[in-house]
């Protein structure tokens, strides 16, 4: 999962201090793996260098956690692009997809569209595998089937999430 994009997305609703960003991240996405402060600051300095965020204010007392960051227009475009680009289908990408869906809801983008685009990307690979299976021998069939069942599991999660978008939107914006 891309921590940079996620932190950027969290800044879209308004400027935040470093410690506030970490708290928001942990609360929404860090259930099993909270961020270290070090990760936050190294990520933020990279985003600063790339012009995706700017320092909006510094509280007295010094130290990186006192900096207040704001997203730039280039940052917003970057988040937009990340959300609109489907993930490469591979096993266990649900945490990235989950993050994207939540961020889309938080920033009032179209989460259903994001899921449709991802489904399309998965189906594209599933068509290739299905075609290979049709032409292949039994070994090809078994290998392709294994991949197909995994991709199908992603898609079932996707459909279920699509069906629960309204409830999820309520929960994350609360």
């Amino acid at each position: 999962m891309s921590i940079g994009h996620t932190l950027l997305g969290l800044l879209e609703s308004g400027p935040r201090h470093g410690y506030d960003l970490k708290r928001a991240f942990d609360e929404k996405f860090g259930h099993d793996r909270p961020l270290h402060y070090g990760q936050v600051y190294s990520t933020m300095s990279r985003l600063l260098k790339n012009g995706l965020v700017e320092v909006d204010g510094i509280e007295p007392g010094g130290g990186p956690e006192r900096k207040r960051y704001a997203i730039t227009d280039a940052g917003v475009t970057d988040v937009q692009q990340w959300l609109a680009t489907p993930e490469k289908p591979e096993p266990y990408l649900q945490s990235t997809l989950y993050t994207k869906v939540v961020l889309a809801l938080l920033t009032h983008r179209n989460a259903a569209e994001l899921l449709d685009t991802q489904r399309s990307e998965h189906l594209r690979l599933m068509r290739i595998l299905t075609d290979r299976k049709r032409q292949g021998d039994l070994a090809d069939q078994l290998i392709c089937d294994h991949a197909l069942f995994h991709l199908e599991a992603d898609l079932r999660w996707l459909e279920l999430t699509a069906a629960r978008l309204d409830r999820l939107a309520e929960a994350v914006t609360r």
Binding site: A112, D116, T117, R119, S120, H122, L123, M126, R127, L129, T130, R134, L148, F149, L151, E152, L155, R156, E159, A162, A163
Partner: protein
Amino acid sequence: MTATATPPAGSLLTAHDLRKAYGPTTALDGASFSIHPGEVVAVMGPSGSGKSTLLHCLAGIVTPDSGSITYSGREMATMNDSQRSALRRSEFGFVFQFGQLVPELTCVENVALPLRLNGTSRKEAERAALTWMERLEVDGLKGKRPGEVSGGQGQRVAVARALVTNPRVLFADEPTGALDSLNGERVMELLTEAARSTNAAVVLVTHEARVAAYSDREVVVRDGKSRDMERIV
């Protein structure tokens, strides 16, 4: 989106801005669709989103409240009931989830039925029926009645029956919905192979991704609105 329907070049069946309500329930809310000869299009989307209603409108079984449907350059709304049912009998084939074979008839009689209804002699109809049953690997069941064959076998018989008239469009609503994955995939393989060999278009409603993977592209229906993934992306 423009207000007038301009079917994409080369398309066989096109629907534009279809709306259909059942009392207070909006089943279709501006759905559009188009398919080329020989193309397999999966119609996907959540339960109750309007997939079957869209298929029924496209097939001339249900009349939309508004919007236009063009088949082979002809506007469906301008046809009367008997013209529409003639179209269904001669140009369209249908496969549904279950319950479509006539229980009193043998399998070969079931497959031959659409030809018999079109006036073909019994002998000729059953000869054509057997050819299709061979292609779907169920010719061994010709003398059995639907109650005496398995779900997967019955579904292949139903596919043979849908294809026996050489339809230009095959409508399939969850054709593998009642089958396990192995049988479902075999039915899809045989169905798409047969359709491709006759250049028939297939409108395939399914909620299963592995079934949709037999299509060339997918259209997603949500809240009665359609989204053509290929033409948008």
